[in-house]
């Protein structure tokens, strides 16, 4: 295929031709092309459809500000919508498609929207989709969802890897144009650690797109030499394809590096993109400037472009946007475009300069004091209509119109700490104002210094100032000679007309929409933005904001300076969510913790459940068991009949040592621990300072100054954090040290009438663990299996004769296998968290379900555990009147009657009261099928519960549309006297 608009010259590699497809058609390009430049070289002007009106749209810019040329790239899982063609480096075999059109780009059915534009003005959705209410979810939302957005995601998981990285430097230079290169050279030559980032793949910024001389050579060549010198310096890191997207506090910058976006697929072992966090002592923003357009009727036709982009395509990519190009300008820059087009041999249809005093042109016919008032052409501009200085009209035929409305400095990053840009009259643009982030200086065009010589000098000067603050000495810093043309501009924002003149092309916001916002009193800039969506597109208003503000300023009669501007937020350019996620995706989203017996449990075919970050065995199905209840019932009954074993390593374990360890525990627990004898364990209740129960668990005294606390699995982290707060912030005077030992010990509960017999087979014989020598609540350091250090605790969660045996975590796998072998004669049964839960409900032990943050010791029937003889956290507020009232909630057991089921979350009502909030008496916290009782049972809180055993209540669960009847009983369904666990 011939590249009809390809010129001679340019910075492309003609020895490396590339093939690509757009909407299924094959085209050719060269290495060094972007998708945009290649499409233009092939004579493709129409590349997309607009968001709302589905108007035909083409390429406007040559940079990251592109609002129109958004395409879908690649195929399959790598399909990526809304990619800017101007930022897409061409690679061989690239597949690109246009978006937001059906059935084809040339003929789009939704273009009918354009005919109804009168009904689709700014804020139409605020007024249109209001009534009837029944339509909100069923009609309007699906309709809006269908119409909204441009491209679509593939729906498949992204196959590529994204990464995060960290870098440090003395000076971060953002932008590798003349100012940035000069700043980096100055700092690099002085020996500073420098990072230079630029979003382009080629250094030079505008120098790559101009016909200019720097230091006597072509500007692009000078930039290439400067970049090569910087790359050669060991103290300088040059990062192409990298965009600084945000400025955070204390010199922290976010930089997105597109490592492999220019390749068909990333190289083996490399990520596609890296989100860098750069810690910079100082930074210089040299982000350049963006040329703005001028609004006139139908100014959105494909072929109507920034003049600087037209010049850039011709000079850098040797791609003429059309064979015959007209130029519309309000400043001298348009004439520069004319000169470059003429030099490249492109035919210039006319120069339309809105200034009556426009400088003469020797390259084309000049219409001074004239404006372009309209355009025409199907799927692209064919003619423009001129309104001449004398009021006459003239048609000019052209395939493209280069528009120059003046330049806006790229101040965006200076706003990231709420800095407000300020208006500078002589260049008719906003420049950085107050509130620029500390440590960030602005250089060159980004602060309104538009000439190349000025930018070079400013880059050096800003670098010198930053180096001086860092105390880095500079011996010499010369600036090469370069072009130094003053800019003369007479602002022209929009050409009045009767049709629609576009401001924000991506969001389809027109001059009329701003008028509507003004008419409806959305006049403040921030209101204007939200009402019309002006500047809310992917370019954050880079091509539109100032135009919109100028129109609003005209309508309100204020100056632009008084109208002000909205500010910009990170990210500077659209950034994939995947880059923020980095490697934290799928199973790497957060760590998974495996208990020490995990691999053994997996061998047994256990079913696992996520418990916080832990994977715990939920039950161990046996052959023939088809329903989980069969497995769980069997595990419960086998444990109660003979013996069961369960991995309880996930419970929090906190090692507490020091002379004040006992006093410390007295403070954090509501009951007393300083009196606990060595070798004994005690149940402890921990309150928050507001008197509510925080956690419970057992704490063992292993030595005079050594305790070991256990917490619930769910609160292990929270309790440890709380204890550290108490130790460091409330009682730094106490001699006490804490360390989390949760992961250090593998701990197994061995429960059931045969528990002791099993343990006697693994505990070394010198340790007497008979009932007399090792009674209920005893604890001791022992050894097992011939000398492996271990700790034995005689504590019971199930209500059976039970022990917990702990060994160093590395012996955990061996320990469970040893216990299973030792228990074989007794038919030992491993049980999971479900059976654990059933047995603790049968025994009436509370856990996270009951300790829900609104429950007091009084509610649990444990009021006596809150000692009034000592200070403890929560003791004061636990005594509040309402919390100790006699008619408060009280923990009870519930047993379903008539074959009903207790469900957790159900609320309790007396037999004959109305079911409403006023008659709500309490709620169910835990429920289970008890194979021991042979009924559905539960635990819950009900008012005056202690005195209501035997009463029947209704359990109402309107959320699930269920109700049941249950009898209130003691929460201890099994062995209320505690004979089993003492046996």
């Amino acid at each position: 295929m011939t590249q009809v608009n390809r010129l001679d010259g340019g910075l492309i590699d003609r020895d490396t031709p590339l093939d690509f497809t757009f909407d299924g058609r094959r085209y050719g390009g060269f290495a060094g092309d972007t998708l945009a430049s290649a499409l233009l070289a092939n004579g493709v002007r129409l590349v997309g459809r607009s968001f709302k009106y589905h108007r035909p749209r083409g390429i406007i810019s040559a940079g990251s500000e592109e609002p129109n040329a958004l395409v879908e790239l690649r195929e399959g899982a790598r399909r990526e919508p809304n990619s800017r063609a101007t930022m897409t480096e061409l690679h061989d075999g690239l597949v690109a498609r246009s978006q937001n059109r059906f059935p084809s780009l040339g003929f789009d059915l939704m273009a009918v929207n354009d005919r109804f534009s009168a009904f689709l003005g700014a804020g139409f959705y605020y007024k249109t989709f209001m009534w009837p209410k029944a339509f909100w979810e069923r009609v309007y939302e699906p309709l809006i969802r269908q119409a909204a957005g441009l491209g679509a995601l593939s729906g498949d998981p992204d196959p590529d890897v994204y990464d995060r990285g960290f870098r440090h430097c003395d000076l971060l230079v953002i932008g590798a144009g003349p100012a940035g290169l000069m700043a980096a050279l100055t700092a690099g030559r002085a020996g500073a650690e420098v990072i230079l980032v630029d979003e382009d793949f080629r250094a030079g910024g505008r120098l790559t797109m101009e016909r200019e001389t720097v230091a006597g050579i072509n500007g692009a060549d000078w930039a290439a030499e400067a970049a090569a010198e910087l790359v050669s310096m060991p103290n300088v890191r040059v990062m192409p394809r990298s965009t600084a997207i945000g400025v955070f506090d204390h010199g922290i910058y976010s930089v997105l590096e597109r490592v492999a976006d220019h390749l068909p697929v990333p190289r083996e072992g490399t990520p596609r993109q890296i989100l860098w966090r750069v810690y910079a002592k100082r930074a210089i923003l040299a982000a350049g400037a963006t040329e703005r357009l001028i609004a006139f009727d139908n100014n959105d036709r494909p072929g109507i472009m920034q003049a600087s982009a037209v010049r850039g395509y011709v000079n850098r990519w040797a791609a003429a946007p059309a064979e015959r190009i007209a130029i519309f300008t309000n400043n001298d820059d348009g004439h520069r475009t004319a000169a470059d087009l003429a030099a490249a041999g492109v035919e210039i249809a006319a120069i339309i300069d809105s200034r009556p005093d426009a400088p003469a042109s020797d390259v084309a016919e000049l219409f001074a004091g004239a404006v372009v008032s309209n355009s025409s052409g199907r799927r692209g501009v064919g003619h423009v209509t001129l309104r001449l200085a004398d009021g006459g009209r003239k048609h000019v035929s052209c395939g493209a119109l280069a528009v120059s409305g003046g330049w806006n400095p790229n101040v965006h990053l200076t706003c990231h700490h709420r800095g407000r840009p300020q208006w500078q009259e002589n260049i008719a643009a906003f420049v950085p104002g107050d509130g620029v982030p500390p440590g960030l200086a602005v250089a060159g065009a980004a602060r309104g210094i538009f000439s190349t010589a000025g930018a070079l000098a400013d880059g050096r000067d800003q670098a010198l100032a930053q180096l001086a603050e860092l105390g880095i000495k500079v011996t010499s810093a010369t600036v090469p000679e370069a072009d130094d043309t003053p800019v003369k501009i007479t602002p022209l924002w929009h050409v009045g007309g009767t049709g629609r003149a576009w401001l924000d092309q991506q969001n389809d916001v027109t001059v009329k929409d701003v008028g509507l916002a003004h008419q409806e009193n959305f006049r403040a800039v921030e209101h204007l933005k939200r009402y019309t969506t002006l500047g809310m597109a992917g370019d954050q208003g880079r091509t539109s904001n100032v135009l919109g503000l100028a129109v609003m300023a005209e309508l309100t009669g204020k100056t632009i300076a008084d109208t002000g501007t909205t500010i910009y937020r990170p990210p500077y350019t659209p950034t994939p969510i995947a880059a923020f996620a980095g490697r934290s995706v799928g199973r790497n989203f957060r760590p998974t913790r495996l208990p020490p017996s995990h691999h053994w449990a997996a061998e047994q075919g256990a079913v696992f459940v996520e418990a916080g970050s832990w994977m715990r065995a939920q039950w161990f199905p046996r052959e023939g068991e088809v329903h989980w209840r069969e497995s769980v019932d069997r595990e419960v009954l086998a444990t109660r009949r003979s013996v069961g074993v369960c991995d309880v390593s996930t419970l929090g374990k906190i090692d507490i040592q020091g002379n004040d360890a006992g006093a410390f525990l007295d403070l954090v627990y509501s009951n007393r621990f300083s009196t606990l004898p060595v070798g004994r364990t005690r149940y402890g209740l921990m309150l928050r300072e507001d008197g509510m129960v925080m956690d419970d668990g057992t704490t063992a005294r292993l030595g005079e100054t050594h305790y070991l606390m256990t917490t619930t699995t769910a609160n292990a982290v929270g309790v440890y954090r709380h204890l550290e707060f108490v130790r460091q912030c409330l009682r730094p005077d106490m001699d006490v040290q804490l360390i989390s030992a949760t992961d250090s010990w593998a701990q197994f509960a061995v429960a059931g009438p045969n528990a002791r017999r099993v343990l006697q087979a693994v505990v070394d014989s010198q340790h007497d663990i008979s009932n007399e020598a090792f009674p209920f609540m005893a604890c001791r350091a022992i050894s097992v299996c011939g000398g492996v250090p271990a700790r034995l605790f005689r504590i019971s969660f199930s209500g059976e004769l039970a022990y917990e045996i702990a060994v160093p975590a590395r012996y955990g796998d061996a320990m469970i296998r040893a216990l299973m072998a030792a228990g074989e004669p007794h038919d030992i049964t491993p049980y999971g968290t479900e059976a654990l839960g059933v047995m603790r409900i049968e025994k009436g032990h509370v856990t996270g379900n009951e300790l829900n943050g609104t429950i007091t010791a009084h509610n649990l029937g444990m009021a006596k555990m809150v000692s009034t003889k000592k200070d403890s956290i929560g003791a004061v507020l636990a005594g509040r009147e309402a919390l100790v009232a006699e008619d408060g909630l009280c923990l009870v057991g519930l047993q379903a009657i008539d074959g009903d089921h207790v469900t957790a979350g159900a609320h309790m009502f007396a037999e004959s009261t109305p079911v409403d909030a006023a008659h709500d008496e309490g709620y169910v916290t835990s429920a289970a099928w008890s194979p021991h009782i042979g009924a559905s049972i539960g635990l819950g809180f009900i008012v005056r519960g202690a005195n209501r055993h035997g009463e029947t209540v209704r359990l109402m669960n309107p959320l699930e549309g269920r109700s049941a009847r249950a009898r209130i009983c003691s929460p201890h369904f099994i062995d209320p006297e505690g004979e089993r666990l003492r046996g």
Binding site: F248, D249, H250, C729, P732
Partner: protein
């Protein structure tokens, strides 16, 4: 995103830390008999100033030590970082500490042993 200099580990990223809110809130001693409202000053009421704020921070994903930080809530400027159990040393930090309404509360008075606070009072009068 802040860059915080942990007094024990050096400069580290904010993501390693967790903020514990207002600093210098002393816990009333058990022997004091405060009203519920006075106790609430200690437990529930927290300042939320625009400007310099004395806060407690914890190097959660590091040494796990708590420390105090004087931070401007508008600019995020960190004026000083000082250990738990000590007061601010900077002029601005001292002023913020002295200006807090908390200095005059019964809860704070009740955090010091009775004889000590009486002795102090005597000195003043």
């Amino acid at each position: 995103m802040l860059l915080i200099t942990c007094p024990y580990c050096g400069p580290r990223d904010e993501s390693e830390f967790s903020c514990g809110g207002e600093a210098h809130i002393a816990r009333p001693l058990a022997e004091s008999s405060l009203t519920d409202a006075e106790f609430a000053d200690y437990l529930f009421l927290r300042d939320n100033p625009k400007g310099l704020f004395l806060e407690r921070w914890r190097h959660a994903a590091g040494c796990r030590r708590w420390f105090n930080m004087a931070r401007d809530t508008v600019t995020h400027e960190i004026v000083e970082i000082y250990p738990m159990g000590s007061g601010p040393a900077s002029k601005a930090g001292k002023a913020a500490h002295a200006a807090s309404w908390r200095r005059d509360t019964a809860a704070e008075a009740a955090s010091k042993p009775a004889h000590k606070s009486r002795a102090k009072k005597d000195k003043v009068s």
